[in-house]
Assembly symmetry: D2
Homo-oligomer: 335 residues x 4
Amino acid sequence: MTILTPNPNPPFNITRLSHIVLTSRDLDKTRYFYETGLGFEVTEQDSERLCLRAIEENSHHSLIFEKTTSDGPGLCRHIGYRMFSDEDIKAAHDYFNARGETASFVERPNQGLTLRLNDGVGVPIEFCATMDQDTCRMQKFHTHAGGKLAFLDHIQIACHDVAGAYTWYNDLGFRLSEYTAKDGTDEMWGVWLKRKNNTQDVVFGNGPGPRLHHFAYHTPEIANVIHAADVMASLGLADSMDRAPGRHGIGNAFFLYFRDPDGNRIELFTSHYNVIDIDHAPKRWELSDTRRSQLWGFPAPKKWFFEATEFETVVVKKPVMEATPVTLEDFLKNW
Amino acid sequence: MTILTPNPNPPFNITRLSHIVLTSRDLDKTRYFYETGLGFEVTEQDSERLCLRAIEENSHHSLIFEKTTSDGPGLCRHIGYRMFSDEDIKAAHDYFNARGETASFVERPNQGLTLRLNDGVGVPIEFCATMDQDTCRMQKFHTHAGGKLAFLDHIQIACHDVAGAYTWYNDLGFRLSEYTAKDGTDEMWGVWLKRKNNTQDVVFGNGPGPRLHHFAYHTPEIANVIHAADVMASLGLADSMDRAPGRHGIGNAFFLYFRDPDGNRIELFTSHYNVIDIDHAPKRWELSDTRRSQLWGFPAPKKWFFEATEFETVVVKKPVMEATPVTLEDFLKNW
Amino acid sequence: MTILTPNPNPPFNITRLSHIVLTSRDLDKTRYFYETGLGFEVTEQDSERLCLRAIEENSHHSLIFEKTTSDGPGLCRHIGYRMFSDEDIKAAHDYFNARGETASFVERPNQGLTLRLNDGVGVPIEFCATMDQDTCRMQKFHTHAGGKLAFLDHIQIACHDVAGAYTWYNDLGFRLSEYTAKDGTDEMWGVWLKRKNNTQDVVFGNGPGPRLHHFAYHTPEIANVIHAADVMASLGLADSMDRAPGRHGIGNAFFLYFRDPDGNRIELFTSHYNVIDIDHAPKRWELSDTRRSQLWGFPAPKKWFFEATEFETVVVKKPVMEATPVTLEDFLKNW
Amino acid sequence: MTILTPNPNPPFNITRLSHIVLTSRDLDKTRYFYETGLGFEVTEQDSERLCLRAIEENSHHSLIFEKTTSDGPGLCRHIGYRMFSDEDIKAAHDYFNARGETASFVERPNQGLTLRLNDGVGVPIEFCATMDQDTCRMQKFHTHAGGKLAFLDHIQIACHDVAGAYTWYNDLGFRLSEYTAKDGTDEMWGVWLKRKNNTQDVVFGNGPGPRLHHFAYHTPEIANVIHAADVMASLGLADSMDRAPGRHGIGNAFFLYFRDPDGNRIELFTSHYNVIDIDHAPKRWELSDTRRSQLWGFPAPKKWFFEATEFETVVVKKPVMEATPVTLEDFLKNW
């Protein structure tokens, strides 16, 4: 598929990625990982729910864990996006239902009007425009800890149908900032899609899906990323790292990845860039060019490529494209 | 004046601050200051014009100096804003002229369709949607130098009529992120206005105006700001600093200010934050609260408060509000 | 006076600056400043004494506050230096007493054999070789806070007789790394003297003295110094800053100064360098060259130059040299 | 073997590691790697020799490459240490020869009196006290580039007889700061030995030897280490990395390793700590505790453990101890 013409007049105004809702087998363990370890603020916890947010976030939550009695790994219940106003939410309700996609209003604590549906590739998503507001910790510098995470930036979805996802989100006004294509072809392996001013709110990468590969929080300094690693190590959580620090070619992020107690993957990163202008062309990377995943350092290990969080009750499908990543394990054989 | 209702449906889509055009008595001296000192990239220079941009900028210029034969201090020829598309530019042309404001198309090298007018308080501004594009230096890390400046972020205008400026820009969809008001009143001393996702594209602060108080470039790390100071010192340019590093309460910026060879003031800063959501309320600061200008450290000296770059051919007017800042000189008398 | 020949075979082995003992009117207030604010570890506190140390220090204390009932500003009770072994302490006892300087053994909690005397310019100093040891917080990264201070590095003494101090310490094997002299003369305004491998353990600068001008802790990153300022501000302690961040020409330190609740001055800094080799010549600075105090930025205000902590029961004398520093107040008059 | 009693009165005063002399097949390629890439200063180059130093070094060289016509990998010609004075060098000459170890004076350009011998395990070492001095680039901030390396800090030797090396250096006054021993035994796998004030000048680790495993330069900030990786990548030298960034438990260094064009390994690191006091006990690590090599992240790959630079004309011997490291390849099998 070729690059789509961006939609300059989407039917409603989605502004950004908003929040993620996951299951947890043990909310206290989850809290230790995110609050004590990574430095998140707990805005609410009871026996059923743990709400978290980062340093620059005034909204009630960007990350929610809901208690599960299941023994299995964590599941994602939905991805939350923000629209600009309730008028946008209502317009979206009508738009989706008119297209034959079932979109229904749901009640969510601490949020205003909220609309739920599945996106074009089956990911459960919810839209709201407002959320309970409270002054963030940005200027309470003495409370900054762990990775000093500033805000939820993006998610990555392992996806069986990247082209389908791209088309669905493009119609809603998401814009392509960078992409990976099979060498010399138009077949898209991965798309970096954005509504807010930087490179991505959501990434779809080829693989069995839909599954939540990771969610990513931004921190303003390289040393904060490394300090997070140091802190996790001194708290006995070093084993939760599943990819060592490095620099992605795509998006230019200096990154580090952890797995939480339920196996969900979180990326801490710094250094994205702005994509605003109409003449800012999407940047192409060949699939065989490993610099898109790391400008330097070793490839990610197999687990990083193949393990991800399933969406609750959503069936995982085989990917359209056959493509095998170069894993750390493969790389070392020839090194 | 009270806080205005933001305009969710502006008549055209201004996306961000784009560029600044200033005069220079000696382009080589100017180049030494910006390129050798602060680390800007020169995209073009001839005997009449010097075009500069920062590390993450793909567009041809965010800063232009035009040779002047005048002996006086630097003048600002105009402020450039970006709109999303040429359709927006055309709509703006019709909109302003219908309102009785003279807006005319002008030819500018390296830019697409460009519209020029004076804003509601007399600042000469120009809008374009496209500009020559070329891959930036973001991933040519070996070329990063000086303050490692990433992108032009905002300008501040000393303004005789802050309320007038606020109204004019609010109509065009600019949104208020923070503001300073006379203690306990609704009289606005300063407004932080934004189109892109962070806190400000343009600030209007009470004072004789309109004059360009400073323009500001973002750098991603605190140590980059300090390294810029060190580099300027080792190049013999230490005297060009006119405010030592500190942390603004408003906008949370860690800042440093220099004056270029023509007296224009540039701010290097890091750490702004996102303002996107409809329920993100503007943050109020009382005029008497010096923490808005510095969370710690000393006040700025008189020069910083009272000296600024005039706009060519624009008459400077006395401010509507009487308000005297606490200068470093005043502060030291009672310390 | 000319530069003295360093003494390669001192009569005993002083290894480094060790600790400082000061008075406090309110130990809880002092603890809030140093522990909550700057991030020090409290190793002991009772109603009479507060013992503190920094992140990389295994020894029991590098900073002690003793409760005073006096209403006046803080006093320094003594400066502690470390010798390599108890044999060195004993040799020092004999050496000083043979020279007619009264040196006596004293009992100090948590320390081994300790010797007390006044140095050549009247500063009460104590030597010990051992102190209670306990694993430091270096690899407990989750406990690092405030300025992330690593270790006590040096002190600066305002001194009526810099030449006398230099001679006294040179005899004991202290070596000159940098110095300031009256322009074009051999008259020393200040001497940077060292035993450990970097530039200074103790500095003597011309002024009414002896008085403790400041003590300085090292932190490994520029951003840590700035974070300390941010933290102090968010804790309501911003007013305790008495010199904004800057870069000293002498010693190359990136610095920041605070005054504690009793008025004692502490410097947080990063970036010293090694002085080890015999052919590493002392670096000379002319007194009139303000770059020795700041490579960039404004001069320090009057208070920084003229206020200091007196040594308990030690009479302050008029300095030998007449020299007036350029204060911030002076600087601004001509700027 | 148990921990040896340090020698407080060594027969002469070795002060620090000084320099390393290696062969290069192509001095221009070597220069590109070290000067353009890592940011070293070239103090001299002709067709036969390339002399390099780091930002804070006043001495003529800390790293020398000598042209070789050999096709093989780089060889180390000798390790240079500094003594305090020529008197120390002369005393060493007599001391070693009296012990039956052949120590001879040699002529070296840009150095004073120089003594050469093989250490107790066969490493060719040279001692000098003086070297040509010239002001370093510390305060020429605009010249700082690449990894902003400050000074040569230490070397690590793969050694067939760690106990023998420890004994030999302990006699000369080197002190043990940390060590690794076979679990629950006194058998030393590795010793961290120091003369200067921090944790190590030379490390001996069990393995076929003697071979130079790596030499290490200090840089003051974490972001500098990462910037070096970024710069190497943008210069096309990313493949020269042979261990991704991480934190050593031993010595607390945040590290990154590269291999130069001749295969020699260089470590860039930050964050060591002081070891000065007599009661600062050596820190023990069990051989099976992988945290000594990395507090977090993956183990080093096989190459890092098994490849090293041979010393010219020195026969490599099988190690006394049998011990197999956990390599990245091994780790991944069970992960």
